[in-house]
Amino acid sequence: MVQKLQHYIGGAWVSSTSDQMTSVINPATCDVLAEVPVGTREDVDAAVNAAAAAFPEWRSTPILSRAQYMYRYKTLVEERFEDFVRVVVEENGKTRDEARGEVRRGIESIDFAIGLPNIAHGYKVEDISSGIDETAERQPLGVFTAITPFNFPMMVPLWFLPTAIVLGNTYVLKPSPQTPISAQLLYEVLDELDMPEGVVNLLHGGVDVSMAVMEHPKVVGVSFVGSSPVAKIVYETCGKHGKRVQAQGGAKNHIVVMPDADLSVSVKNIMGSSYGCAGQRCLAGSVVVAVGDIYEPLRDELVKQASALRVGYGLEETTQMGTVISHAARERIEKMISAGVAEGATPVLDGRNKSVEGFPEGSFVGPTILDGVTANMSVARDEIFGPVMSIIRAADFDEAVDILNSSRYGNSASIFTSSGKYAREFKYRVDAGNIGVNIGVAAATASFPFGGKKDSFFGDLHGQGPDALEFFTDRKIVIERWF
């Protein structure tokens, strides 16, 4: 019998007020893993009201006690580490190692939250005027929510929730309806902590639920990760309704390879960047800019190593690249490859119509490399979110930087070089929020903010690190004099 997921509201598992459900599909086997409620505005009301009701008591709980809940949470998640890995693989399609990396990243965010009592301080100046002291007191704000994507169903919720609640806020998570089981498991473990009812709430659903969350008067802030067009809508909607917002959008990440790069080592790392998580990562390197005469040897090495990647079901340890999220995603990706070919690109490695023995219905797209791409082609401009690499030729470093900076996205950019001078110039001049030097996936760890610029990020304060501390708290200024 297929599991029917429920909301978690006010410390209890509850059914949606609507019977309408959608299926959660394993993208490799096409098995139905669960049924997830589409959710309603009444459900949103219930979850937000529960969180709002829990806020006064939770806020007055000492921060050290709030952090202790997360310490226990970390321990329980560690104990069930491989359960999380399996769930992420089954509903998302990535490989076991990628899922392990994701779960580890999620735990690192819990670690960060546990340490917050050490840094979540206000500040004070005595005698700002004679006998008058001025203090900035750090305070939580109320009910925060996150609307999270399918590609990191376990990690992204943990970027936000632990930090928000340790800082004294209460929470409502709305995960992707394509991958809600990871969130369900996260909340099953939260349920074991016996936190005060309503501090953490889980709400399933789609667009209508997301809109209702953003429009709800008791929600004070929204964290979002997804595509750029939706991130912009989230940003605008939250602005209209007077909420704090951090909206991470899509990407078109470039990897510049200089003539002095160590080819073999670089390409090995580029494989992980372009084809890790089947390219469904906002940090995936999807455009390789080959500078000068490294173009041909680089292309040949890329094709050699990408051809050798073993595509298959993520639960098999030897699989090096899993599926994309759905048949619809596969069709969209294949159409974009075809559009690139129609515009003049040459598919020197073609992952269309990929089949994997034993998984005839799986949403597989093989590693794809498009040669002879120019910066104006759709495959160089638009986010594909699949295992597709486009190679562009640049005459020199300056042209490469111009190509990168002409992109409307600014999530990440990497350079492979043995020159400190070029590396320094790259960091300085490239307009992207996460920079890799001889690193293809420049993923900020939990104590650093996850960067992003231009159409890749809408908001002021990024997720994670010191930015998260600021996002989830306000500074109340107190000026006092005693007679």
Partner: protein, 120 residues
Amino acid sequence: MTSLNTFGAIMTFAIEMETQIRDYYQSAGEAARAADADKRRLNFERVRRENVTEIKLEPIDGLSETDYALNLSDTSAAGQKAVEATAARFYTDTAPKINVREAQRALERAAKQHLQNAEA
């Protein structure tokens, strides 16, 4: 599974190998060596859990598990030396292929311990 082409494939093979070695020494009445193998198994589980980082996940080539099959039917002193030598060779071969230092250290330590047992 024949190819050891990912971080997880290597670590999982190491965990399974140490489980087999633990059971092998238990059946041979060698409690101390069984305990050592179980300690290594637990350590590899921890290392696999704590050290995967997407920044450095890269494909691995040139290793096949068929090269490291253990003969567990022979519990004689010579048989034990052969098992230890095979395990030592596995860890010696795999350690340089892993680009995460903590995991590399665990593999190197296991290689050293198995080598000492093989030469004892």
